[in-house]
């Protein structure tokens, strides 16, 4: 078992709900400050977006964040170099699109992740049917390739996804793109429940988890939550690391209240 999955299982084991905040790599000069803030606020793992020019599964907030990072000249290599300088207490999971992963081949991509201290990878436009070569490369380099499941996924496919996912399973809570929502989408519940029945991998719910009460609600039926757009909105609006820390700390508190 790789580092990421070891950590997610351990955390669940402890009765603690997993909190996985997201940040778009290279969004500001001192973007790694956000990582530290997330860690301080009680993140269990941190998802780092490697910005792609055409992020087809992302809503306006993450699109804007990606555009801003790219227009600053951000590259995958640059982000990984920044990460390599850190010594994070929590696992780092990168999230990006297939074209960036395959640009120089899956193997060299995974090797570079490993070198930068990254332990997981999420590629939303690489469904389980297309994932085999990347899976193997990831495994070779000790990277956990996290697969996504959606409300529209059939039971048969859920089984396959659960079987091939590593680190955790990413339960996409709704039929839609990333983005803040007023209410936590209902469709995540059934999906998370089905997954939980199929696998003992931790199941994290993402997409639309925007507020502490959403997090708390999702944590009732899943092992944790991924929070992206709600945080990136603040970053885009000029929020500093401290603001983000406070924001995330509220989520932590809400989750911990559930776990008790």
């Amino acid at each position: 078992m790789n580092a990421l999955e070891t950590r997610t299982r351990e955390t669940r084991q402890k009765g603690r709900k997993l909190l996985a905040p997201y940040v778009t790599g290279g969004i500001t000069d001192d973007w790694t400050d956000y990582l530290r803030a997330y860690q301080d606020a009680g993140a269990d793992l941190i998802e780092i977006g490697l910005p792609f020019s055409d992020p087809t599964l992302d809503g306006p907030t993450v699109q804007q964040a990606s555009d801003r990072a790219l227009s600053r000249g951000t590259t995958v290599d640059g982000i990984l170099a920044d990460l390599a300088k850190l010594d994070p207490a929590v696992p780092l999971v990168t999230m990006t699109y297939a074209n960036l992963v395959l640009r120089n081949g899956a193997d060299s991509f995974c090797a570079a992740l490993r070198e930068a201290g990254v332990s997981g990878l999420i590629v939303p436009d690489m469904p389980v049917d297309e994932v085999a070569p990347l899976s193997e490369a990831a495994a070779r380099h000790g990277i956990d390739l996290v697969l996504l499941a959606a409300p529209s996924t059939t039971p048969d496919r859920l089984r396959v996804i659960a079987g091939h996912s590593r680190g955790f399973v990413y339960a996409v809570s709704l039929m839609g793109t990333t983005g803040e929502k007023r209410d936590l989408p209902e469709s995540g519940r059934a999906l998370a429940r089905s997954l939980t029945e199929l696998t003992d991998l931790p199941v994290l719910v993402g997409f639309g988890v925007s507020r502490p009460d959403h997090a708390a609600e999702a944590a009732r039926y899943a092992d944790g939550v991924i929070v992206g757009s709600a945080l990136m909105r603040k970053v885009l609006d000029g929020g500093r690391a401290e603001d983000l820390r406070a924001e995330l700390a509220d989520m932590r508190t809400a989750l911990d209240a559930i776990a008790d």
Binding site: Q64, R103, D125, D129, S152, R157, I161, M175
Partner: protein
């Protein structure tokens, strides 16, 4: 029909929609079920004579098929070749896009969907989609980059007149590729009643295959027409412009089993096959214009309909195989070609289609097309939409 079933059998993409190493289905998990639903519905429909009957009737009595095959008399004489023009510019709405859209709209209807979702660049596919939606009593939502909306105001108005909703896309380069991304995003959230009506031989499986099948009517008709028009029955060259590649794919489909040289013509500034590298965009693997980091580049062509950084996977495959050859022409050559065709034959073709004409003009000059050759050229659309562009340039 023989050729039809032959082509489905021989050239349907294998496995997960692969054309060699290209194609596939690189979409978010949320869209997998929707893609599978489309695939099953298409396989079912395409094997159903009733569906073919419906579609063939619409193509004939509504869209104006078969389109004419026009000998370019004066240009042929000037060039010393026999040049035949397959006149998709005469099809309803002014381009070959209607063939595909009528097929997909009928398919969507058969699937019980009420709404067509589409991306559009120049607006031709958007207008065609809006048209099919109106005809079949469906609604249409068309995504279009803000920059294209400014450039193609008239087509935006046409779509709205036809009852479609046009949604401006303000992200990225605010052009076709972003409209495509946005349409995919929208489809994710509306798979229940929405059908994604893709405009070219691109996107996730089964679209590249399905769109080619709906466009093969161009090649099938031209094949039959060439047989009466040419002593040699099949032409020496079959030429078409390539944006996503649907008019070329449809044309090639009719001639892939003949000795004809198949030629696709890309714009210099958007030549995915000539200048792209393997990559993944909008759900499929193909040759894509991208920088050294893997970020997608914008295409730049005078023809908005060719401004796409990728290309249909089958073309990438045919190029690797060497079965089809792909060349590029410059904007200047294209403008010259539009004018020459207009003055010689009285046909104002689309800037997209003029790419094919431009290549023929050059290829005759440099001997690539020997004197006495027979050339079939698909004129994918009419030039009315481009008059403003041409006016500004003159």
């Amino acid at each position: 029909m023989d050729t039809r079933s032959l082509a489905v059998d021989v050239r349907a993409p294998s496995g997960l929609g692969r054309f060699g190493e290209y194609g596939g289905r690189f979409v978010p998990e949320s869209l997998i079920a929707a893609c599978e639903e489309v695939e099953h519905a298409f396989r079912d429909a395409w094997a159903d004579p009733l569906f073919h009957g419906q579609l063939d009737r619409l193509l004939a009595v509504y869209a104006g098929r078969p389109t004419a095959l026009t000998p370019a008399w004066r240009l042929s004489a000037e060039l010393g070749i026999t040049l035949l023009l397959k006149r998709e510019d005469l099809a309803h709405t002014g381009s070959h896009k209607i063939n595909n859209v009528l097929g997909q709209a009928l398919l969507a209807k058969r699937m019980g969907k009420q709404r067509l979702i589409a991306e559009t660049g120049a607006g031709q596919h958007g207008v065609a989609t809006a048209t099919a939606a109106a005809l079949l009593g469906m609604s249409a939502t068309v995504f279009m980059g803000e920059r294209d909306i400014e450039r193609q105001e008239l087509n935006v108005f046409r779509m709205r007149m036809l009852g479609a909703e046009v949604v401006p896309v303000g992200s990225g380069s605010r052009t076709l590729k972003d409209a495509c991304s946005e349409a995919l995003r929208h489809w994710v959230s509306s798979v229940e009643d929405g059908y994604y009506c893709l405009g070219s031989v691109m996107g996730p499986h089964p679209y590249p295959w399905l769109v080619r099948e709906f466009q093969r009517v161009i090649g099938d008709e031209a094949r039959t027409q060439c047989a009466t028009e040419l002593r040699t029955a099949t032409p020496d060259f079959v030429v078409a412009c390539v944006g996503g590649g649907s008019n070329a794919a449809g044309t090639f489909a009719g001639f892939v089993d003949t000795p004809a040289r198949l030629i696709g013509v890309e714009p210099e500034g958007g030549a995915a096959i000539n200048s792209g590298l393997p990559g993944i965009l909008h759900g499929f693997r193909t040759k894509v214009l991208q920088d050294e980091h893997g970020q997608i580049s914008e295409a730049h062509s005078i023809a908005a309909g060719l401004d796409y950084p990728g290309v249909g996977p089958e073309h990438a495959y045919l190029a690797d195989l060497g079965r089809a050859e792909y060349f590029t022409v410059s904007d200047a050559e294209v403008l010259d070609a539009v004018r020459r065709l207009a003055k010689a034959e009285g046909i104002l073709c689309a800037l997209e289609s003029a790419h094919a004409v431009a290549w023929v003009l050059r290829a005759v000059e440099d001997g690539e097309i020997p004197a006495g050759s027979t050339v079939l050229l698909t004129l994918s659309g009419r030039g009315d939409k481009d008059m403003h562009t041409l006016m500004e340039l003159s």
